[in-house]
């Protein structure tokens, strides 16, 4: 991270793209972004339209437990004799929806906390960031488990707790990036002509911290997917008889020796999805480093 305030585009130079356009273009030119995006599109597509192609409903019994793949059940049956392929095609929606929602909450609140802290730079800043430190004293999964132990495996709780544990991580990055933006002239000018604080924060400061925010968001999305899938693998996410990738792995683990597909398919799907989001994030990260370098030169 550079500590020197980056100079704005000099007068007289050819018109430049908006920062987020530059970031998008820069990321797109990285090969890994394309691969990552392809993986994400593949798996999100599979989760969204997969159910249309499912030969059975996810809870229908089509055979005896742990049957090997056959013409009737292309990937065999699961621990209760349901069709693995159908359950796999139905099982992606929940993870994607929960992970996306919790990332949205985490990033939204994190941006708000980070911007307010950076702009206040007084007791408010200290109090907010120290509160964030306390949440950071726990690995995310431990706080999630403590909450589940008390309330029980409720979906809203998972979303909330994953979202809240994401907040400090985002807030830290946003605050760090915003600290030097709030000192720039255009913020001073906006203050001078009496623009409201909210408008300054979200209209003037936020657009100038886009690149670190985008990088952090993709990183957080990867972590949220892993966390939500992990919690549902532990049995604290969707409850049976729901079809869910994490839960499927848990349910079919016992039959791994006889019929591995009920485990292998969701493991591959979750793995490729997280690799995809992480590659996209890395593409953005490389692009934003390039932008920073360009500015410094």
């Amino acid at each position: 991270m550079t500590t020197v305030a980056a100079p704005g585009p000099a007068v007289g130079l050819p018109k430049q793209h908006r920062p987020w356009v530059v970031l998008l273009l820069g990321a797109w030119h990285q090969g890994r972004t394309k691969i990552g995006l392809a993986l994400v599109v593949l798996l999100v597509g599979c989760a969204l339209i997969g159910p249309l192609f499912a030969p059975y409903t996810p809870t229908e019994f089509v055979g005896t437990p742990f049957e090997k793949p056959s013409a009737d059940a292309l990937l065999g049956t699961d621990n209760l004799g349901r069709d693995v392929l159908s359950r796999f095609l139905w099982g992606g929606r929940s993870i994607l929806a929960l992970a996306a929602l919790s990332t949205l909450i985490g990033v939204g609140l994190g941006v708000a906390v980070g911007l307010v802290a950076a702009y206040a730079r007084n007791v408010v800043d200290d109090v907010l960031m120290r509160a964030m430190d306390v949440i950071l004293a726990f690995p995310q999964i431990v706080l999630a488990l403590v909450a589940v132990a008390t309330v029980g495996p409720e979906l809203w709780l998972l979303v909330l707790v994953v979202g809240i544990t994401t907040v400090p991580r985002v807030a830290r990055v946003v605050r760090g990036a915003a600290l030097d933006v709030v000192e720039r002239d255009f913020v001073r000018a906006a203050e001078g002509i009496g623009v409201s604080r909210t408008k300054i924060l979200f209209g003037e400061v936020l657009p100038n911290v886009t690149s670190p925010l985008v990088v952090e968001t993709s990183l957080r999305l990867t972590f949220s997917i892993a966390l939500i899938a992990g919690l549902s693998f532990l049995g604290f996410g969707l409850q049976p008889p729901a079809a869910d990738w994490g839960l499927m792995i848990n349910e079919n683990r016992l039959g791994l020796e006889i019929q591995p597909w009920g485990v292998v398919m969701p493991v591959i799907a979750i793995g490729l999805l997280t690799i995809g989001t992480s590659l996209v994030g890395d593409g953005f990260s490389r692009a934003s480093i390039g932008i920073e370098r360009g500015r410094a030169e």
Partner: protein, 376 residues
């Protein structure tokens, strides 16, 4: 974030030093922020900038004292959060234990036994003073003291973490140095993509993949579950340890190796490495003898953060392999809503996390001459 190295950041990492005027310009504020300077960890310093300090809070030992006090404070607040989360949220542990068919009398009796009829602050105080004297309460399910229940599991988990650290740190250093030396070559690119992909995978995906590949379906060479009898030392079961250790190694090595690579690249471009080469030293000696020791310092922090991450990672990994540690105990506790066990394990993990972060901060100060000077 690549290891930062500018003078301004290093000096600023310790809040501008005692007695300096509060920083006013944008650069100074950024530099004075230890986190963005990349030198202090997530749970790092909390003291306000630029104030005069008491004598014991000055200098290097002062920094360590401040850092320890802050760690204690963080843990104290963490204990309040754990307690509040397990008590104040809308769930009745007594009903959770006894089930829906419980009579009001038995519910009341259990509540009294658990101290749930007392005011919340008194409950918290009882719990905290118990924790400080080694009494972690009584398991609602097993009826045994929690400390007895967790004792041997704590040893098992600590051993697993240690083993994972002993394998992953040298491995990460090796990967980092090799990729730095072959910077932008095909090997570097391959390693970069592989570590990135592995870093993205959730632990349970890696664990299950190992079970499929080495434990059951493909090759049946290793036990897919780590059945270690209670009261037996884990080191007597080396075969059972391999897969859980490997899973944890895959979880943390990528991050450490990436920071090692970045740090090593910076050092390899420095003047003293150039000097060593011009002196005619062999490349092997230059890399391992001169460059590596200097490249390790900036990586210490990330290493410690990642080892602290292991404390969370063991939860899922122990569950995957049924390894008898505190992580598996936490999952069981959550399933049975055994609140005292959950509280105890959460607090232990938070303590490990805070302590490792503290060690990281102190170690970074001790090995970075610039920061050391700034603290004087």
């Amino acid at each position: 974030m690549p290891p930062s190295s500018s003078e301004a950041e290093a000096a600023g990492a310790v809040e501008g030093g005692p007695g300096l005027a509060p920083p006013t310009s944008a650069e100074a504020v950024v530099a004075a922020d230890p986190i963005s300077a990349g030198l202090l960890t997530e749970t790092g310093t909390a003291l306000p900038r630029g104030r005069r300090r008491l004598r014991i809070f000055r200098g290097i030992s002062g920094f360590i004292v401040r850092r320890i006090l802050l760690g204690v404070l963080t843990l104290f607040v963490a204990s309040i959060i754990i307690f509040a989360a397990t008590q104040a949220l809308p769930g009745d542990p007594a009903r959770a234990v006894l089930g829906r068919t419980a009579t009001p009398e038995s519910l009341a009796a259990l509540r009294e036994q658990l101290g749930l009829d007392k005011p919340v602050t008194e409950q918290y105080w009882d719990w905290l003073s118990g924790v400080l004297t080694g009494d972690l309460g009584t398991s609602l399910v097993a009826g045994q003291p929690v400390s007895e229940l967790l004792g041997s599991r704590l040893v098992n988990s600590a051993f697993l973490m240690l083993l994972a650290a002993l394998v992953s740190v040298p491995l990460a250093i090796l990967i980092g140095v090799v990729s730095a030396r072959r910077r932008d070559g095909p090997l570097d690119h391959t390693l970069s993509v592989v570590t990135l992909a592995l870093a993205a995978l959730p632990e349970f995906v890696v664990g299950i993949a190992f079970v499929v590949l080495l434990g059951t379906t493909v090759f049946e060479v290793l036990p897919p579950v780590s059945l270690i009898p209670p009261d037996e030392a884990p080191w007597n079961y080396p075969k059972e340890l391999i897969l859980p250790t490997l899973t944890l190694v895959v979880a943390v090595t990528p991050y450490i190796s990436r920071i090692m690579r970045a740090s090593m690249i910076e050092v390899l471009e420095s003047d003293y490495v150039e000097m060593a080469r011009l002196k005619g030293l062999r490349e092997r000696k230059v890399v391992w003898g001169h460059a590596l020791p200097n490249a390790v310092a900036p990586a210490i922090q990330v290493t410690a953060i990642n080892l602290a991450y292991l404390a969370g990672g063991i939860v899922v990994v122990e569950f995957v392999f049924a390894y008898p540690g505190i992580g598996a105990a936490l999952v069981d506790g959550v399933e049975n809503r055994d609140i005292p066990v959950v509280q105890a394990v959460a607090l232990i993990i938070a303590a490990v996390y805070v302590i490792l972060n503290l060690i990281a901060d102190v170690a970074t100060i001790l090995v970075s001459p610039r920061v050391r000077t700034a603290l004087r």
